[in-house]
Subunit: 657 residues, 2 copies
């Protein structure tokens, strides 16, 4: 039941992918040298092609299935095999192929997609430059149209404009989708994408193309990231991926989107699937990590407890606090990701491709990807520490997964930048509802600032007054009420955005002053965006509960959802106190309530892990596959036998004082 | 001035070590295979011996200098070259050699130390077992005395008792100090240390000895960690390191310490230098990391700002918030470490080897090591993310340092376990001052619980009442008062410990109930220990300021100390609010004040980094050595030249609405 819920709408695609990645040929070999790991990942991509694992998103006429959501669901599960394999496949089909698919037209598809889909043409997605990462709009590579030869001339003007961190660039890429400023008839029309051949069949760079290897990285060393530069490289006019902008033979530029800004963001918007899939991959990696650490924690014993027997790690209060709340978080993220996948599929299937839905997609992707990828690093690290020295061994996978996922927090949009985008969207919404004249603003401010806010902003309907309610038990019950939880989470977002919005309004139309104030509020704005993302995760969890009938299962899931909510309240307790949303007494109840929920969930941890549906071939860490239990059993048996045989030495007596 | 302050009492030892590690032969080669990295680290150890870099702590009669503090200071600086080199040297001389030195007597020293110091006998410190890490008292390897042959028989009874994660065990170790339960005349006298030969000159295991390789790890792959097991291995009676326990030829056990418990902790106490040095190494790694990320942040430009020019990263509000408070923390940790080193030297030089000073040493080492090693992971990760894709490249060192330092948080005592030790010591202190009869306890409780506490516990002398003071400015001034800062930090520790202590008291003499309550309070107790450690760091910073004369330098250092203090208040703001120590209004002032301090410190960041005293040969990351500045300069020059020549294309105009 819960397993099906977690598998989501594309359960079958996930199952097929999970079966496929049980193949040891697809698994990461820990400790492989960079050269060997790159070669292995390259060969693994062909296995994926041969298994029909990567064709889902492409058009039916080119052997695909037009299955966008299912494609990402299947793709995310590859993380369990090797994140390098996942990302290398993502470079080839999710970025390189997807750019041709979504930024190109039928002409481009026919010419380029078959080679990409079949992996005859391993390729690159050459967007980022050494000098510009998340700020794509300011890259400096140019593609200038020459009507005399009907070619574009792709050129790198200086070192900072080299394409950098590009997967497949160091070794395997035969071609690239290169992002460059399109210049024709002396006008710069902004960033467009061009198909540029890179290497000949022997792997040598074509004339004018150059590059270098990015070398060893903090993780993902199965991917040959590198740099590329172009010295007046000529490509046919038709190598422009021309869905959103085209140049006629005579050099005339045309586009279905008039505004250069909107055109740019529309083009970038088609590439959102990278973010969506990273969100899913981060959830998968956390499930694997938690399954390893929690299984070990239920078998490993350390330090004698009151009864003289050594305690199982997960029975220690601190250990429960370290791992069980993170289990609740990964459930929330899993449900949130499922919503994101549905939004993505709605838009990309064309079933509901509206500007509003696209905007939802952008916001959800930016918000969820940021939170889940950061959470993955935090969770995997906590798991590794919770397993002590065993957690540090590569064979137990936790350090390896963490190292590979590290870059997820800054690529496909740096999390800090993405949350700012979310924050700015929240500010835009605020401006639509904020008063504009001074008198109403004053009233608005008075209502929002200080302790009075608690009464003025609708919190009263939660049944809480600022004063203590007198009874600890009563307040705990309230905190378990979803309406209370939501009001607290949503109220925080609203107030944070309002505070920042009003501050920015004081600048009036002075743009320089606005910029200064925005920069001063940057830290807060990002925190507001995070709060918004957390609220959306809570919503997703709560909506998922709607599908679960009353009973034990539902009860456990509600505990998990409550633990997630209370965890958020505890993290931001200072804010709720300062803003008069929680009294000191109720605030104390938050931590006490978390302790109780964690203890209540402790006995069902095995069942909760089981709902992930992963097999030993996905988990693979020896400490999570019975190795530790066998050692514990052997040790106990040995002590029992020695004691029975009277062979145990006496303990030295403490001397009498 | 500040540089001298940071270098501390053993400045000269640090300087000598820093000069030595400029030798590229000692530097980590990123991306080296495990086999090659192990071989390289092995050879590097001989370089250290030949340079006289490791002899400092040993007795003068054996070529040493009896210089304990200086030894660790010099040793910590090796982290800049390669943490694997540092830890492999630590295994040989800080653990293996040090165990013989401090647990052995002259007889052991003469026989074993020359080979260890000269590196003719690479060796292991075989304490941890697969089944027991931080809980050393319950290891299961035994050494049973056989009076017939005057030998100890070292034996591993089951798989869980294999020695594990042992440096030098997989490959290079020719001998080991093995920790085992000493059994003689049918009595188990607890854990003692034995010198056990492992391998012959060809590197083959001696009869009865076996083992295996731990394989690839999450970091520190220059060290050949492995497992060892013993099948009735016989060693001479005199291979017992017999300072704290000896066995006569007839099998009679004797010890200068009667209590087995105290004997065990005394023996372990001699091995504290590992923790002390990890604390120092974590500080060194953070200085390198921050120097890299802050240098890059002052050169790297991204996103156009109000003036149209791209902004330098460190001028963005969020970026300042990410890095500058961590700079303040590393100053605090640096001063705290210097105090720890002095305590360590006082005890180990015998100059002030009292039980109280030993206890201080244990507490400081456990507290500071835990906080600084966790902080190192956090800081290095933030630095890596702040450098984006460039931060993920191994050449820029941040991921590499982080991976290598990962295990510092669980080895030489798991941080969670260490903080519990600190917490238990705090509870012991509490019990000495807590009332024992019911009436006084009731009064004590009334005074401690709820809002009233703010008045009852001496906080009133800070000049704050629970009510708002009416003026934000006034409260900010107060928060910059060191007496206020200390009272808030210290008051938190006292109250947390009191709350836990009173709760445990309710169990009376019921030991099972006590254990249950202690386990329920485990999470809080660890947080209390952390709070205590933070207070000690704050004290160290403030004491260091006493040596700085009035003037600009002092002013900047005071800002840094204030930033450290306010950062701690902000982290625990919820606690201070719930306990009525800070009003909502003053709590708001904390964050505002941090923002102001961070902005004030921004211009002096270059000077602050300079006080670390590291040279390019220590930093080595290309992005921190001018590479980025050169790229920025080139790009600007190119744009200027193109503009001057009229070669820049026009921008496409936005269509009129």
């Amino acid at each position: 039941m819960v397993e099906t819920l977690l598998l989501g709408r594309w359960a079958e695609d996930r199952r097929i992918s999970r079966r496929l990645v049980l193949d040891p040929a697809l698994h990461k070999t820990e400790g492989l040298g960079t050269i060997e790991h790159r070669a292995r990942a390259f060969e693994q991509l062909q296995i994926l092609v041969d298994a029909g694992a990567i064709q889902r998103p492409y058009p039916r006429e080119l052997g695909g299935q037009d299955n966008h959501g299912g494609n990402l669901a299947a793709f995310e599960e590859i993380t369990t095999a090797d994140p390098s394999l996942q990302i290398k496949a993502g470079v080839q089909w999710g970025l390189f192929g997807s750019a041709v698919h979504h930024l190109g037209t039928a002409r481009n598809h026919e010419e380029f997609l078959p080679g990409i889909i079949g992996f005859d043409v391993p390729g690159c997605f050459a967007m980022t430059e050494t000098g510009h990462g998340s700020d794509v709009q300011n890259i400096a590579t140019s593609a200038t149209y020459d009507p005399a030869t009907k070619e574009f001339v792709v050129h790198t003007p200086f070192r900072g404009a080299w394409k950098d961190y590009i997967g497949n660039a160091a070794l395997h890429g035969k071609a690239a989708v290169v992002f460059a400023k399109l210049v024709t008839q002396g006008v710069d029309h902004g960033v467009h994408a061009f198909y540029v051949p890179l290497r000949d069949d022997d792997g040598a760079f074509l004339p004018g193309v150059g590059g270098e290897d990015d070398g060893v990285k903090g993780g993902l060393n199965g991917i040959d990231n590198g740099r590329l530069h172009f010295d007046h490289v000529r490509i046919p006019r038709t190598n422009l991926l021309n869905r959103y902008g085209d140049v006629a033979e005579d050099g005339t530029y045309s586009s279905p989107i008039d505004s250069p800004g909107r055109r740019f963001f529309t083009m970038l918007g088609t590439l959102v699937q990278g973010r969506v899939s990273l969100d899913g991959a981060a959830v998968v990696a956390q499930k694997i990590g938690l399954q390893i650490a929690l299984t070990y924690a239920m078998q490993r014993r350390q330090f004698p407890t009151a009864g003289g027997v050594e305690g199982v790690l997960l029975d220690y209060g601190r250990h429960q606090r370290r791992l069980i709340p993170r289990l609740a978080t990964v459930f929330a993220q899993s449900f949130a990701h499922e919503q994101l996948l549905r939004t993505f599929d709605d838009v990309f299937s064309g079933r509901a491709d509206t500007p509003e839905r696209r905007e939802d997609l952008e916001t959800q992707a930016a918000a969820f990807k940021s939170l889940s990828t950061w959470s993955a690093l935090d969770t995997l690290q906590e798991c590794r520490e919770a397993c002590g020295g065993a957690g540090f061994l590569a064979e137990n996978r936790l350090t390896s997964l963490r190292a590979d996922l590290d870059v997820y927090v800054t690529f496909e949009g740096d999390n800090t930048v993405l949350l700012q985008l979310v924050g700015k969207r929240l500010l835009t919404d605020f401006r639509k509802r904020a008063p504009r004249d001074a008198a109403s603003t004053a009233k608005f401010v008075a209502a929002q600032v200080g302790v009075k806010l608690a009464d003025a902003s609708g919190i009263r309907r939660l049944g809480q007054t600022v004063a203590d309610r007198g009874s600890l038990a009563a307040s705990v019950t309230d905190l378990h009420d979803p309406a209370t939880q939501r009001a607290l989470l949503a109220g925080r977002v609203d107030t944070m955005v309002t505070e920042i919005g009003l501050r920015l309004n004081t600048a009036g139309k002075d743009r320089a002053r606005q910029a200064v104030l925005l920069n001063r509020s940057q830290h807060e704005l990002i925190e507001a965006a995070r709060a918004h993302a957390e609220l959306m995760q809570w919503d997703a969890f709560t909506e998922a509960l709607a599908a679960v009938p009353e009973g034990d299962t539902r009860r456990v899931l509600v505990w998990l959802r409550d633990l997630f909510a209370l965890g958020l309240l505890e993290q931001h307790l200072d804010w709720h106190l300062v803003h008069g949303r929680l009294s000191a007494q109720r605030a104390r109840a938050v931590s006490a309530s978390i302790d109780r929920l964690v203890a209540r969930l402790r006995p069902v941890v095995p069942q909760l892990i089981e709902t992930f549906g992963y097999e030993p071939g996905h988990v693979r860490a020896p400490i999570a596959l019975g190795e530790e239990q066998a050692r514990q059993d052997e040790a106990r048996a040995w002590f029992a036998a020695e004691a029975a045989a009277g062979r145990l030495p006496e303990q030295e007596k403490k001397p009498r004082a």
